[in-house]
């Protein structure tokens, strides 16, 4: 038993932090925020690819580093901390994971090395409108190898080369191009892009079985753990920012961090972040070893992380007072990202429901 990163993993994490500190300061995030034409930071995206991070959990036989998922979790934590404006999650947590779970050898050989090399951006297209994705809500169909339907929103859909699409009878691989059009959407987090994708007889290829909802959920379980580390990184950064400001800012002749209202607010943040961290670690283990506990562990990690990040990002603004409400402050970058990450693989309420469902199944077993 060992409930911590190994020394090697810590080293990787430290290196990732150094890299992102150098290449992903908040100026880089803001450059994407302030420019509606920018879907992401292309230079950073290229540099991240060059680091090999995209293939951290992809086996060496498919062109990855074959390090494992815990290493990918460590990278995710740092990406979340830096609020990185790149399509990492779509490409790595969703599409690469979907391929590793369900891809045929041909599909893996074709796509995974290109993903690991940074040559392909991915997107995972499931939602078709407001509300949870269910078997009833999916209208996208496939006929004679052509896929037709509308997906909204698709995170990174406008910059994706390879899209994994949920249709009524399973997941499909669709390539950018013929029969695919994208319309960019205005969202709460402009540092991450999203689009409405319209498929009209788009050529496609089946990925895995006919039970699309089950496959989507299996991908979500894996992504949920990785997203939880991004959320944890963001929540930790909020606590750091709040603490830094509370020590620097004076009111009534004292540091505001000396007032119990602020002290206890930050203590509450710390408590939520630590619970989220512990649950994320457990999820990382379950993901890494493919444990049967993964669905429950993933739900636990995701609910904890979503809760912690929401609380930390909003109370970080509150701690900053008026300054925190300005565009110039970095506080809102994290507030926005906390919304994006909380929703991208389904809402916290949906995950709470899934968690309890898993508990029921476990107790019934």
């Amino acid at each position: 038993m060992n409930f911590d990163y190994s020394d090697d993993q810590k080293f990787l994490k430290d290196e990732a932090r150094k890299f992102l500190t150098a290449h992903c300061g908040s100026d880089r995030v803001r450059a994407v925020l302030d420019d509606p034409a920018k879907a992401h930071d292309a230079d950073l995206w290229k540099a991240v690819g060059a680091q090999g991070w995209l293939g951290a959990a992809i086996p060496e036989e498919f062109g990855g580093l074959g390090l494992g998922h815990i290493e990918l979790c460590a990278i995710a934590e740092e990406l979340g901390r830096a609020c990185a404006p790149i399509p990492f999650a779509s490409t790595v947590y969703f599409v690469a994971e979907a391929l590793m779970l369900y891809g045929s050898d041909t599909q893996k050989v074709r796509w995974l090395p290109r993903i690991a090399a940074g040559d392909v951006n991915g997107a995972f297209a499931t939602s078709e409108g407001a509300g949870p994705v269910t078997a009833r809500s999916i209208r996208t169909t496939v006929s004679a190898g052509k896929l037709t339907g509308e997906k909204i929103p698709v995170t990174d859909g406008d910059v994706a080369d390879l899209i994994v699409v949920l249709a009524r009878d399973g997941l499909y691989l669709v390539e950018k191009g013929v029969g695919v059009t994208a319309e960019v959407l205005e969202t709460l987090d402009p540092t991450r892009s999203a689009a409405r994708l319209t498929f009209t007889d788009a050529p496609c290829e089946k990925l895995g079985s006919d039970d699309g909802i089950a496959a989507m959920q299996a991908v979500f379980d894996r992504a949920a753990v990785l997203l939880a580390f991004e959320q944890l990184g963001g929540a930790d950064r909020c606590l750091e920012m709040a603490k830094g400001y509370a020590l620097d800012r004076y009111a009534f002749g004292r540091q505001i961090g000396g007032y119990q209202a602020i002290k206890h607010k930050l203590a509450d943040m710390y408590v939520k972040n630590e619970l989220a961290r512990s649950n994320a670690y457990y999820g990382a283990w379950a993901l890494n070893v493919g444990a049967a506990e993964l669905p429950l562990a993933a739900a636990t990690a995701r609910v904890a992380a979503s809760d912690a990040y929401w609380f930390a990002s909003k109370e970080n603004i509150q701690t900053h007072g008026g300054m925190g409400f300005t565009w110039e402050s970095d506080c809102h970058l994290y507030y926005r990202r906390s919304r994006q990450l909380a929703l991208v693989a389904g809402s916290p309420a949906a995950w709470r429901e899934r968690l309890v469902g898993q508990l029921e199944m476990r107790n019934a077993a």
Binding site: G129, T187, A251
Partner: protein
């Protein structure tokens, strides 16, 4: 306890309703909150009808009415979705201060035009280093003969860019403790040396400003209250602020109820989800509680009592509820919830706007934390904070990085 109109109140309400029906169609300015010209025309119309500043004496252009009448008119006017926010700060805070502290000539010059909406006023207290510590003002006014020369910076000034006049709190003596060296003035916001820059908020809008003063020269005749006696004047001004900010002005329980009736939950409409229903009930209880609390305040006002710091509860509850309602509606969309385009979102993006605006409301006009301190100290009589700055000269106080 009587929550229905008395006969006299019913008569007043009927008259107000008739007057609104007769007047609002041709003076529908208020329906367009971004159109100041129309808003001013509507204010003038109300003043002519005796419906502007209803509780103020008629000699000052007011309606000579009661607080209850003011509430009744407000209820009826609200049905027409008019927006009087251009005048809230001026008529709610600044002009009352002028009326209380200026000489007769000044009052006669300014009160009438303000009531009629001809001139808009702004309040200039907050500073970058001040925030919750309102009295930590660094903007200096230095005496020069019959004039004062002002240098410094104000911040979070609502509507300064469209205002004509303002009241400003400045430091006239840095060698005495913080609260003892402040003085209040009124001034012309078009005066030389004043530069107004809008603040870009995290919510995207710019309803606030920074105001820079560079050698702005004003006459000592513009002073409100004694030299170095400005803190008491400022307290008079601020007394009315939290009452005004008490309502969130954003989405409420009824809005999210309407949304939930047609929103997809995992298993039917969101409104059928018991988790949502339990939360909705709590919001309703809060909103109704605030509405009825304001009514209790009005009752106190009509009995000649001064509304106290208990009105601080309004903003704490309303701002936090706004954030929760906004975010709940956003999250109810599941993946779709991240989309903020008004054309694609419920209520034209109002829930998304609330999510981005509520953090500001929790801060503006006193943070949650400051308001709770006010309730604890002034309502409940608990001890004040230990004040390390109490007896020190302002210039010696520690400041942050």
């Amino acid at each position: 306890m009587d929550f229905k109109d008395s006969d006299a109140e019913a008569t007043y309400r009927a008259a107000a309703r008739d007057w609104l029906d007769a007047n609002i169609a041709e003076h529908d300015a208020g329906r367009y909150p971004d159109d100041m010209t129309k808003a001013k025309a509507w204010q003038a119309r109300k003043a002519a009808g005796g419906y502007a500043c209803i509780t103020w004496p008629q000699e000052w252009g007011g309606g000579g009415g009661t607080p209850i009448e003011s509430v009744i008119f407000g209820q009826e006017e609200a049905k027409h979705a008019v927006d009087g926010s251009y005048f809230t700060i001026g008529l709610g805070m600044c002009v009352p201060t002028v009326m209380a502290y200026a000489d007769d000539a000044t009052k006669h010059r300014f009160v009438g035009p303000a009531v009629r909406g001809d001139e808009i006023w702004s309040q200039l207290f907050s500073e970058p280093a001040g925030g919750s510590d309102v009295a930590a003002i660094r903007t200096r006014a230095v005496r020069d003969g019959d004039d004062w020369v002002i240098n410094g910076q104000k911040v979070w000034t609502s509507g300064a860019h469209y205002s004509d006049y303002g009241i400003v709190l400045v430091r006239t003596n840095p060698d005495v403790p913080k609260h003892q060296g402040l003085t209040m003035f009124w001034l012309d916001l078009k005066a030389p040396g004043i530069e107004i820059r809008s603040i870009h908020q995290m919510s995207g809008g710019s309803s606030f400003n920074e105001v820079w003063f560079e050698d702005v020269r004003i006459s000592d005749a513009q002073r409100l209250g004694p030299v170095d006696g400005g803190w008491k004047v400022a307290l008079f001004t601020l007394m009315n602020e939290r009452l005004a900010i008490g309502t969130s002005g954003g989405v409420g329980p009824e809005d999210i109820l309407a949304f939930a009736a047609q929103a997809n939950g995992a298993d039917g409409p969101l409104l059928k989800d018991t988790a949502f229903r339990q939360t909705l009930a709590d919001w309703w209880v809060q909103s109704e509680g605030l509405r009825n609390t304001r009514m209790r305040t009005i009752t106190a006002l009509s009995k000649g009592q001064v509304p106290g710091p208990e009105s601080s509860i309004g903003k704490i509850v309303a701002a936090n509820q706004l954030q929760a309602i906004g975010n709940t509606a956003v999250e109810a969309g599941d993946q779709y919830g991240i989309i903020s385009d008004p054309a694609l979102t419920p209520l034209k993006g109002a829930f998304h706007a609330a999510t981005m605006w509520a953090p500001g409301l929790r801060i503006a006009g006193g943070t949650d934390e400051i308001l709770k301190n006010i309730i604890a100290e002034r309502v409940l009589g608990l001890p004040g904070e230990i004040r390390v700055d109490k007896d020190q000269a302002f210039r010696n106080l520690p400041v942050g990085a």
